[in-house]
Symmetry: C2
Subunit: 453 residues, 2 copies
């Protein structure tokens, strides 16, 4: 009889780990509990379902319970783990359908409980028409509203998901307003110089963007009618709260599994928690920043998949260190592409690294090509050494994925002056003869090495 | 009185060097001679002019003689340097307009004579309607034909320029046939497995592609009427010979400036030739491969610009080593993107490096996104170490520039197993959660490290 691995939370991290572990150890019994209605779905695709780009909804489901069963993973949907007993090595599970509670023993445990949408304690948040977008159920509800409507949609929060939901409702014919409490949108990943450019472009698309706009409450009787900001009310037929997400850590915390400085589950580079035989991966766990080494808590599909893979390997006798994150992110709003990786100057300085940055503007193609799109690149480098630390990109089609060159260069510790000379691909439809990446790198190198004033 | 730099050949390399040198040394007299009618033009844009994507032709001219004059560079068009006397430090110059020959002294000399289209000694090559595409004059002539015609265009040579010209004539409504003498098109940069995929896609676009088709001669009386291949004749109203280009080295060779193994001007990493005070850059000069260190002779705008820049710096007291080439190249035919960098397995083995390769197929976006395009990546890595050596990419929109990630990784000596974990950007419109780059890297690492059979 083999050992039993229990996986708590059956989304990207959990099911990647489960599949990986089972593939490596055919004697391992793998049991996964998921409190929701679906496992292993592509949450990142939800805004595109709301927009109607994808149909039907189950195209977002990567694998069904039957498929997992064939792969040797026993998956229980609508089964919530309500407690972990580390002494007795059992989890307590409540079956949402049968309302039964039972216990399941484990030899190895993976905490992959993910994250939930953050909803601040604001008046009116329980009104009809006030939503978040995280689960497939959320997506189905918003798609239904988007399809029937064409009224006023107010998106609270100008992050990546906020922008994607704004685009979705606009595609469906709604008047859309993004309401951001901070002075700039995308403030966690972009410097104001770049995010202001995004906000301006988004406004030109016909999406209203309000910044420095703290929501006082949501108004309505039964159903939402508006969002109050200061002494003004913006009419709203639907409100989507996209203010961020929080790691789901109550189970782990209550069981005595240590949390880290970010509030997420603390793990080492093998995804081991502070408790023997207990691993964690995905949105609920911390991950180390590749450049600073600092703990972060990112809710990104890439990190969930990668840390799940690492956990699955290490839980089955492997020895793989997760090499860290750069918090690389990308999105688009209609034709506008936005991406970032690594550290901004402010992030670097908060981590004790003296940094400079430069911003350059150009095009995605040779200037004489009619399909050249605007491209802005901002690069952060360490003062003195010119080691690349981060980059931000905004521009038209073809702009965004240029961030991967910076991610690769930063990953490997390259200096800006080295990136300048890399033999990047050139043909008129794809870049000027000096790709703007090289120009940005050259200017960053010069600034980083200039005598400090 | 400052020194005088004479530049022979005023295209990308020559004028980049001239401008750079003059910017760094305001006392330097810079005189450039160009035998053609234009300086500093974007040859790579010419197929897009023929296709009608760009108008008028002079959009391809980066800077005029007047602009160079304002920058302190004295540029003489239609002035051909006919001899270099290294003992007397003078060049002999023939003025094509006045038919005068004169001498100009130099303290420093740059050989940037470029390359010319290769035209094999084939019967009928002088018929009307038989063209090459290299100069702006060539482009003007082909555009005139493309505009008036809609007959049969035969493109001899299935390289990058051949494909681009084929697209251009098809855009203009012509029936287009590409005739390639070798078993595969793009044989200098792609393995057959990849280039066959390109050929198949190009055929699906309605462009005929004949391989293993050696042209015996060009037929016609006065004007071309056909191209003979074996005992068959393909009707042709225009023939474009795009069989490659050769470095223009006669002047240098006759002056006793050493050529290298490739037949191009030999230079060190400072663009110095074997003769003191004489530099060379661009298509006429050799460049070292970043991975093998071997001399190559590439005719690429990127290399011309970069080596011109390096020459300009070193001619004016600077000390910059050109860090080499990966022969990165990219093109598109309609929606199909094609790119390559570094070494194929066959290239690696010719250079004495034991290599493996893998080919993976996927999409440019999440599988459920309607605009995901096919993507194929082939990766070459060193056997044992898994050091990345090269990559080839073919796919739809968004595929080609992914080559830059490989170029960056190869440039910095990364192993495939490291690239697998780089924090590449993910969102559904841009990639699957594991970008195919990572999948390709993972498989290449596994194969490179597998025990040799």
């Amino acid at each position: 009889m083999g050992e039993r691995l229990v996986v708590i939370g059956a989304d990207a991290a959990g099911m990647t780990a489960a599949s990986q572990a089972r593939r490596r150890d055919r004697d391992l019994e793998v049991v996964a509990f998921e409190m929701g209605d679906y496992a292993s779905y592509a949450a990142c695709g939800e805004p595109y379902y709301v927009a109607g780009f994808i149909d039907p909804l189950d195209r977002l489901i990567a694998r069904t319970p039957e498929q997992f069963a064939r792969a040797g993973v026993e998956l229980h949907l609508r089964h919530e783990v309500t407690a972990i007993d580390l002494d007795r090595r059992v989890v307590e599970v409540r079956d949402h359908e049968g309302k039964m509670t039972s216990e399941t023993g484990f030899d190895k445990l993976l905490i992959s409980t993910g994250a939930r949408a953050f909803v601040p304690p604001m008046p009116g948040r329980d009104l009809d028409g006030v939503h978040t977008l995280r689960t497939l159920g959320d997506a189905a509800a918003l798609r239904g509203i988007a399809d029937e409507g064409m009224g006023n949609a107010v998106i609270v929060g100008g992050g990546y998901i906020g922008l994607e939901v704004a685009e979705a409702f606009q595609v469906k014919g709604w008047n859309v307003t993004i309401v951001e409490g901070l002075p700039t949108i995308l403030s966690r990943t972009l410097d104001p110089e770049i995010s202001d450019q995004v906000a301006e472009s988004v406004r030109e698309m016909g999406i209203e963007v309000l910044t420095d706009a703290m929501v006082g409450g949501i108004e309505g009787t039964g159903h939402v009618t508006g969002v109050s900001i200061g002494d003004k009310t913006i009419p709203a037929d639907v409100v989507v709260l996209s203010i961020g997400s929080r790691p789901v850590v109550e189970l782990a915390r209550d069981a005595g599994i240590p949390l880290g400085v970010t509030g997420a589950v603390a793990v080492d580079d093998h995804q081991m928690t502070g408790v023997d035989g207990v691993w964690s991966a995905g949105d609920c766990a911390e991950a180390a920043h590749r450049v600073t080494g600092n703990a972060m808590n990112l809710h990104l599909g890439t990190v969930a998949n990668k840390t799940g893979r690492v956990a699955g390997i290490n839980m089955t006798g492997g020895d793989m260190a997760f090499p860290g994150v750069l918090a690389t992110a990308i999105t688009r709003v209609h034709g506008l592409e936005i991406a970032s990786t690594g550290l901004r100057t402010s992030d670097a300085e908060a981590a004790g690294v003296d940094a400079v940055d430069v911003t350059v503007k150009g095009g995605t193609a040779a200037h004489y090509m009619p399909d050249s799109e605007p491209l802005t690149i901002r690069v952060t480098a360490e003062r003195g050494t010119a080691r690349l630390l981060g980059a931000q990109i905004v521009g038209g089609r073809g702009a965004g994925k240029r961030i991967d060159v910076f991610a690769t260069a930063i990953w490997d510790g390259m200096a800006a002056g080295d990136l300048e000379w890399v033999d990047l691909a050139y043909a008129p439809p794809f870049a000027p003869v000096w790709d703007l990446i090289a120009i940005a790198a050259r200017k960053a190198a010069a600034k980083a090495k200039a005598p400090s004033t």
